[in-house]
């Protein structure tokens, strides 16, 4: 493979978007969780919900900042590195991203200010509303970005003249066939991922001997969420897979490492797909099961990789292994969630040390699954950027190899420094926990003061009032 601006641009985009996706996925889930907590607090007046909301808002602030700054990079990188993409499909994809900015970004960014700093500036109902608007905004952002991505996977509602796509039917473009399931799959993934982070945090505090009501509440809420959404995610994923069989047969063939269309697809449990020899080495498989899962019958035949010209085939290794990682983690999530629910029903969930021990290390599970899923879907779309419309290699900008090499090196360096620091700081916040923070409010200790976003109410920053969240009560 030749090292040129094209290859380096691909690596750079994959690198920056992989870093980015982690934060929106987490903040989509976390903002919904915080809004739920604030809603429960308004309804019940129970102080633990307020403590938890304050605690998670601080973590949200740090994560959201990292999501914002890594997201700005992407909106410019489409131009800096993929300028021919911007021209070829700009008429269709551009407006979808335009709507994302107009409907979602401003909503999130503006009400974030109220959510972070408005604890005493605005009445509790308005503060809850702001959190709910931020949660809605993040989900709306997901709506548009997945619509755009799904259109690139299977473009419809357009016509191509002189290599440039023109919109014909916006409704068809926005609600393109692979969009609804992909959106459902991603949103569920975001909520599930966040539930695991909440669970891990609760478990960590329980194991450390902080047997507080807030730690228990986190575990209960997370277990409920996981036990319900993990199996739901499997069902959505299954439908999504069946749809891939219809709309993106080449991607499906790569996922299944399916080389021979004269036989039904086998469920390959393990193999090393050899793209040169066009076969699987060290294969362990169950005959017919892939056909059953994707086409509903053990005998169904479906296109294999050999049915596509070599230049139209996606790479096989990444979709093949990433898919197995995603499904494997998903299965473990279901088992883990149900075991948790069963322990809860028996009333021993807070004493189940082995389960809690696993739970406290389970926080990366969702992130790894999401990244794996995106590697399947994005690499599986290759060699196309927009299937049938534009090949990736024809989309790259007229920039020099050395420019991209330098920018890639800088991105790797900066992201490693900044995001490592961010994750360490989040870890520090999680360690402190929701309960310690509430006793840490005294204004005499600025150096021990954690994140100002949640810690100092706006009134403390802006005058007229003094801190002390114990005094905050919901309006009755």
């Amino acid at each position: 493979m030749e090292i040129d601006a094209f290859l380096l641009s691909r690596i750079q985009f994959a690198f920056t978007i992989s870093f980015h996706i982690v934060f929106p996925a987490f903040t989509i889930g976390l903002s919904a969780y915080i809004a739920t907590l604030l809603g429960l607090w308004l309804k019940t007046g129970d102080r633990k919900f307020h403590l938890l909301a304050r605690f998670w808002t601080k973590i949200f602030a740090v994560s959201f900042a990292m999501g914002v700054v890594s997201g700005i990079v992407l909106s410019y990188q489409i131009g800096t590195n993929w300028s021919r993409f911007s021209v070829a499909v700009g008429n269709v994809v551009g407006p979808l991203l335009g709507y994302e900015v107009l409907t979602a970004f401003f909503l999130e960014a503006s009400f974030l200010g109220v959510m972070l700093f408005g604890w005493k500036r605005v009445p509790p109902w308005l503060h809850f509303l702001s959190a709910a608007i931020v949660a809605g905004g993040t989900a709306l952002s997901g709506f548009w970005i997945l619509s755009a991505n799904s259109w690139m996977q299977y473009p419809v509602g357009h016509e191509v003249r002189d290599g440039i796509a023109y919109p014909v039917d916006w409704l068809k473009i926005v609600f393109n066939p692979t969009f609804p399931l992909r959106f459902a799959h991603m949103m569920t993934a975001a909520y599930l991922t966040t539930a695991f982070v909440v669970l891990a945090t609760g478990a960590r505090h329980l194991l450390a001997g902080h047997r507080t009501e807030s730690a228990k509440t986190m575990v209960r809420m997370a277990v409920l969420m996981i036990a319900l959404t993990a199996p739901l995610q499997a069902v959505i994923g299954d439908f999504h897979g069946k749809q891939t069989a219809i709309y993106q047969p080449a991607k499906l063939a790569a996922i299944e490492a399916h080389w021979d269309s004269s036989k039904p697809g086998a469920l390959v449990l393990f193999a090393w797909p050899d793209e040169k020899a066009e076969l699987n080495r060290f294969e362990v498989s169950i005959p017919g099961v892939a056909s059953l899962l994707t086409h509903g019958s053990m005998d169904a035949l479906f296109p294999s990789l050999k049915d596509f010209k070599v230049e139209d085939r996606p790479p096989v290794l990444i979709p093949f292994f990433a898919f197995r990682a995603m499904v494997g983690i998903g299965t473990l999530m279901i088992i883990f969630g149900w075991v948790g629910a069963w322990l809860w029903k028996r009333g021993t969930v807070f004493e189940a040390r082995r389960w809690l021990w696993l739970a406290q290390y389970s926080w990366p599970a969702g992130f790894i699954a999401i990244l794996s899923g995106w590697f399947v879907t994005e690499v599986g779309r290759q060699p196309w950027l927009a299937t049938g419309v534009l090949r990736s290699k024809d989309a790259v900008s007229p920039v020099t190899t050395i420019e991209v090499a330098i920018s890639l090196a800088l991105f790797v360096f900066v992201y490693c420094v900044v995001f490592t620091a961010g994750i360490l700081l989040i870890n520090r916040l999680i360690d402190k926990g929701p309960d310690e923070i509430s006793h840490e409010d005294p204004p005499e200790q600025p150096s021990r003061r954690p994140l100002k976003a949640a810690q100092a109410p706006a009134s403390a920053i802006f005058g007229d009032g003094h801190p002390g969240d114990d005094k905050i009560q919901p309006a009755s």
Partner: protein, 334 residues
């Protein structure tokens, strides 16, 4: 319709860029002034004066980028590769200063490094924006509607001057914002700094006004053709007037007017640049019509803009109103 749509979109994107420059200008500006105090409490106060707003402010930059792509894909596809290095530099700098807003507080007492990141990130981002502005004014080599220049075409004495000019301009906005939003030593120092910076900003405006018509006949022709001059003479006059008033107000006890007048100066300079270059979006060759997206795409997003932009402006105003008033010197935790 085919004639009007690009004009409307140019107006919209111009407005978005202008809003970005003013809004993010003052929060980048306070960061540029960060090293002028060593006192942690004062730095806290400076940062707190923009903390609830910066995220919304920076969203206008995303709208500028996305809007350019939506409305003028050819321009977007030429400008971004042409300014590859300054754009990447700006993005990386914005990462440092953006995370510093949150990291600084969590990292305390080991926050010095994030103070540095906040200052350096903001200063370099402002400088890079100046480079891009200058580079665009001086023109981009285009063949066949594609960028055809070299990676360092943007590096000239003119663009370097624009980089410095934007840093000074943002610092002026930041200083006058501090005069408006803070009190005590921070506000007093900001008032002194604002006076010096204001002179720098005005000097920069004069320099650009002389340099661009000298270097580019099309700009000279735009301003100095008698019929145009009849219409355009109020621009330099108004700018001078605003500058004089801002200077006087800064020497008095006014708190809000210096900021408002600095914003007015920015607005006038921005309009001046727009007049110099209209109808070119990628000078010297491509107009807004040459680079426009399909009319169907323009209309589709325009429908949304009609409803959403007033809403955005409304709730942006709501957030500023919610956090109105002075940021206290003691800020409640000393």
């Amino acid at each position: 319709m085919e004639w009007y749509l690009p004009v409307i979109w140019a107006g919209l994107i111009g407005t978005a860029v202008m809003l970005y420059v003013v809004l993010d200008g003052f929060d980048l500006g306070i960061a540029i002034l960060f090293p002028t105090t060593k006192d942690e409490g004062e730095r806290d106060q400076m940062m707190n004066s923009v903390a609830p707003f910066w995220d919304g402010n920076e969203t206008w930059l995303v709208l500028g980028g996305a809007g350019l792509w939506v409305a003028f894909p050819y321009a977007y596809a030429i400008i971004m590769p042409a300014f590859y290095i300054p754009v990447i530099l700006m993005l990386l700098s914005l990462i440092f200063r953006g995370v510093a807003f949150e990291f600084r507080w969590v990292a305390k007492p080991h926050h010095r490094i994030w103070d540095l990141a906040f200052w350096a990130g903001s200063t370099v981002a402002a400088f890079a924006q100046g480079l891009i502005l200058g580079g665009l004014i001086q023109g981009v080599t285009v063949v066949d509607k594609q960028f055809a220049g070299g990676p360092f075409d943007w590096l000239t004495p003119f663009t370097l001057m624009c980089g410095v000019g934007v840093v000074i301009g943002y610092a002026t906005l930041g200083a006058t914002w501090l005069v408006y939003k803070t009190e005590g030593p921070v506000a007093e120092r900001a008032r002194r700094q604002a006076r010096t910076l204001l002179l720098g900003l005005l000097a920069f405006a004069v320099l650009v006004s002389l340099w661009t018509p000298y270097a580019h006949p099309r700009i000279a022709e735009r301003w100095f053709t008698p019929s145009n001059l009849m219409l355009l003479w109020p621009f330099p006059l108004l700018t001078a007037l605003c500058g004089t008033m801002a200077w006087k107000r800064l020497n008095g006890a006014h708190e809000f007017t210096p900021f408002a007048l600095t914003v007015a100066i920015f607005l006038l300079c921005f309009l001046g640049l727009a007049i110099s270059n209209y109808p070119y979006l990628v000078p010297p060759g491509l107009t807004i019509w040459d680079t426009a997206a399909a009319p169907a795409s323009h209309v589709f997003v325009l429908i949304g803009v009609t409803f959403l932009l007033p809403m955005i402006l409304f709730y942006t105003a709501f957030v500023y109103w919610t956090f109105r008033g002075k940021v206290k010197a003691d800020a409640g935790y000393h």
